[in-house]
């Protein structure tokens, strides 16, 4: 297992656990309504979300590796990284499609939706992006 693979695997596992914790906290603390009306809840969840994206997104795949530098990175790693962006893009597109279709159908009659939802769309799209990146790196090595 390469250094990049190890980091991606750890990043994926940490990201999935953290996402589960975030979702559970979100539901336990009152869901969308509480998120919209209670500033401390919003700050807490937002902080956890930012930490999730930072840990899995920035530290999961080192910046040096993205530039092809470093003793542990060669052309095979870079090829895996390039393929990872396809998985990342697909994950984000599917997430956004799910949100847009779901919300549009749900609020079709009302014609408007609560302002909280775009926030949650952004959060989930970024989480999908970072998890998709890690998953993509792992899948990228298998396609070599």
């Amino acid at each position: 297992m390469t250094s990049l693979q190890r980091r991606a695997l750890v990043s994926l596992v940490v990201g999935l656990v953290w996402t589960a914790v975030l979702v559970v906290l979100f539901v336990v603390r009152g869901g969308v309504e509480r998120f919209a009306s209670d500033a401390p809840t919003r700050i807490l969840l937002s902080t956890l979300f930012v930490l999730l994206v930072l840990t899995t997104g920035l530290f999961g795949v080192p910046w040096k590796a993205r530039k092809g530098a470093g003793p542990d990175v060669d052309e095979r790693d870079l090829a895996a990284l390039q393929r990872a962006t396809q998985v990342q893009l697909l994950a984000v597109m599917l997430t956004l499609a799910g949100w847009v279709i779901g919300l549009t159908e749900h609020y079709w009659v009302d014609g408007v939706m609560p302002v909280t939802w775009p926030y949650l769309m952004l959060y989930s799209a970024l989480i999908s992006s970072t998890l998709g990146q890690s998953l993509g790196v792992l899948l990228g090595y298998h396609r070599n």
């Binding site: 390469t2 542990d72 060669d74 052309e75 095979r76 790693d77």
Partner: protein
Amino acid sequence: MIRNDIRRLRFEHGEMTQEELSRLAGCTRQTVIALEQGRYVPSLELAFRIARAFGVSLESVFRYEE
């Protein structure tokens, strides 16, 4: 399909280790392992570097099979 004789060549070169080859060819040991197991086809540049590490021609290391 592109096959290679890296494992045999390492053996013939004083049982060169994968680590040594990776250092000479400028790649990681994991890539050498993947190459030997036929799980990775290298770029032309890396293929040349590997051949140079063994001091042989490209065709002596890699061959194309239908």
